[in-house]
């Protein structure tokens, strides 16, 4: 939380002689940073919209309203809407078990929860092909019952769930651990049931962290490419998600249309950043308020939400 420390530091940094760079060095460092961000972050973003509109607005609109693009948009929304609730329920359950109880193997469990971040998306996709594909372990059994998982929508959902598996849990675990369990115990003593305690005490206290996790989970779910590409089968109009549609249009030498679909995903990224930043500022403000009120600080949105490979 840059904002907080900044404010705190402003108070005590009356004298800072000899601990600052010379103005020229400082100016050089700042301009290098600005040029680097401009070239590496702003230019790619601006280029998406410039290329998307390179054939005019009418063409842009036609590319988006094309039935195959529309079906890709629908599939992406559907996959995200199905995968996120799974990971939210899992995240809440895992955080409750890890934060409120002591048991052996807890740190191993937390490490295992982060595991999907270290697996290459392509390898993740391949795992589901190995399990459910025709050559796979369950393939013949599924085929005999006419159930198709890979190269169909269920496979896309499974791959997405795998890729986004840790997001909600790793937001909630530190938050609920820091919160302790005194409030829940008080509620139970006053006669609340377990569910009531969870709904009325725990959930409200972690709601912003939960939202934060859901936002990151959603961004990754809608944008996932590698894992989904392996299990999708690339059937136009049926199993193409938005990122896969982008690739297909690009390979058909229709760059403007590819960028048109990509521009929607870029807008999604911008909205994600905006909500994330607002949540972090909010957290910083609560932090200052809590300090001013002399209360203990018990929540901290993990600013490294996306981090970890």
């Amino acid at each position: 939380m840059p904002g907080v420390t900044k404010t705190l530091r402003a108070g005590r940094s009356a004298s800072r002689r000899g601990t600052e760079e010379r103005p020229l060095t400082k100016w050089l460092l700042i301009s290098t940073a600005l040029v680097f961000t401009a070239v590496f972050l702003l230019l790619p973003l601006a280029n998406v919209f410039a290329q998307a509109l390179s054939n005019g607005f009418a063409y842009y609109w036609r590319s988006l309203s094309n039935p195959d693009s529309l079906s890709a948009i629908r599939l992406t929304l559907f996959v995200a809407a199905v995968s996120i609730p799974f990971n939210v329920v899992f995240g809440l359950a895992a955080a409750w078990a890890v934060a409120k109880f002591e048991f052996r193997g807890k740190s191993l469990l937390v490490t295992l929860i982060d595991l999907p971040f270290s697996v290459s998306p392509v390898v993740a996709g391949l795992m589901f092909v190995v399990l459910f594909g025709l050559q796979g372990f369950l393939g013949p059994w599924l085929d005999a019952r006419d159930i198709q998982i890979v190269f169909a929508v269920p496979g896309i959902i499974l791959a997405t769930v795998f890729i986004t598996f840790p997001f909600v849990a790793r937001e909630l675990i530190p938050l609920m651990q820091a919160g302790g369990s005194e409030q829940e115990q008080a509620a139970m003593t006053l006669g609340a049931s377990g569910w009531q305690t969870f709904w009325r005490v725990t959930l409200p206290s972690v709601k912003w962290g939960l939202l934060y996790g859901v936002i990151l989970c959603n961004a990754r779910a809608m944008g996932e490419f590698g894992a989904v590409s392996v299990v999708s089968g690339h059937i136009t109009g049926l199993t193409d998600t938005m990122p896969l549609r982008v690739e297909k249009l690009y390979n058909e030498y229709n760059a403007a249309a590819a960028f048109a679909v990509a521009s929607l995903l870029a807008v999604l990224a911008l909205i994600t950043l905006l909500v994330k930043t607002i949540l972090e500022w909010r957290q910083a403000r609560d932090f200052i308020r809590a300090q001013a009120g002399g209360k203990t600080v018990d929540s901290d949105c993990n600013a490294n939400g996306f981090n970890n490979p």
Binding site: P2, R9, R16, G18, T19, K26, L29, A33, L34, T37, L41, L42, L43, P44, N47, V48, F90, K100, F101, E102, F103, R104, T111, L112, I113, L115, S118, V119, S120, V122, V123, L126, M127, V130, L131, Q135, F162, S181, M188, G194, A219, G223, E224, F225, S229, V230, E247, A258, F259, A262, L265, A266, A269, T272, L273, K276, N304, F306, N307, P309
Partner: protein
């Protein structure tokens, strides 16, 4: 491993939540990983080794690791610079840049690859200046490194920022009072305490780059022996219905990410001991 019963808590739901967590973790993560490894174990060692070390695979590993290393080094340098500037200086646009640092995480990798390849193409915004100078960013190994640098950019910044914020400036003041120049203070006082965080960020960026697929396939051109990365080769084998080949390569990548994960944990533990 036995999951012992809950201690010290009168709250309900331990069995339910832990049971569900373990069930879900097994179904989504552990069983699929085990299935892949099991399939690889069904091959003989000879078969596995032949498939995992074909000439094309070796050149793909070399590019994947080389470009990832280059990208992680670039990120360590620019990430440190960016974190320093964001924490230490006040300038217009600071908060926007701070928020934008996460952009590579938020942007779908396919979109990143698409726009980077168009930027560095001969008629792109950057390519039209760079290509005449002989700097070809699209469809070259350099392009792979560029895409991987973009994807890994936030790691070093985000691991270093909190460390820099907590850094006691009194230490720097003391060094300055004792007569050290700014550069000397930076090299002998500041650098050693930032190094563990930079190293952690570096290894996170490296690990991410090795597995990266989406952003690279657009910019690299995927030419065998030249610009083909290992994850792409996995997909190629799969499309050729060469399941054994795909599985062998995937297991190599998987083993590598687990080794790296263990290393990162070790570095993080070392770093946290360094700080408290």
């Amino acid at each position: 491993m036995r999951m012992a019963t809950a201690k010290h808590s009168s709250l309900p739901g331990f069995g339910l939540t832990l049971g569900f967590t373990l069930f879900y973790l097994s179904a989504i993560v552990l069983i699929p990983i085990a299935a892949l490894v099991l399939r690889a174990l069904q091959m003989t060692w000879q078969e596995f080794w032949t498939l995992a070390t074909t000439a094309r695979a070796i050149s793909a590993y070399r590019l994947t690791f080389g470009a990832s290393l280059a990208a992680a080094i670039a990120n360590a340098v620019f990430g440190t610079l960016l974190a320093w500037v964001l924490v230490r200086y006040e300038f217009p646009g600071r908060r926007i840049i701070d928020a934008m640092v996460d952009f590579p995480f938020a942007l779908p990798t396919a979109v990143a690859g698409l726009t980077l390849s168009s930027l560095f193409a001969a008629n792109g915004w950057l390519g039209q200046w760079l290509v005449p100078l002989g700097i070809k960013g699209a469809f070259t190994p350099l392009g792979v490194a560029i895409a991987l640098t973009f994807v890994g950019l936030p790691f070093v910044v985000r691991t270093l920022q909190p460390v820099l914020q907590d850094f006691e400036q009194e230490v720097e003041e003391a060094a300055a009072t004792l007569g050290a120049g700014r550069l000397r203070t930076f090299l002998t006082v500041v650098t050693p305490s930032l190094l563990p965080a930079v190293l952690t960020g570096f290894s996170l960026a490296f690990a991410r780059a090795v597995g990266e697929y989406g952003s690279v396939v657009f910019i690299s051109g995927n030419m065998p022996f030249r610009t083909e990365i290992a994850p792409y080769l996995v997909v190629m084998r799969l499309e050729e219905y060469d399941y054994q080949g795909a599985i062998a390569l995937a297991v190599v990548l998987l083993a590598f990410s687990f080794v790296l994960l263990a290393l990162i944990n070790a570095v993080e533990q070392w770093a946290s001991r360094f700080h408290r």
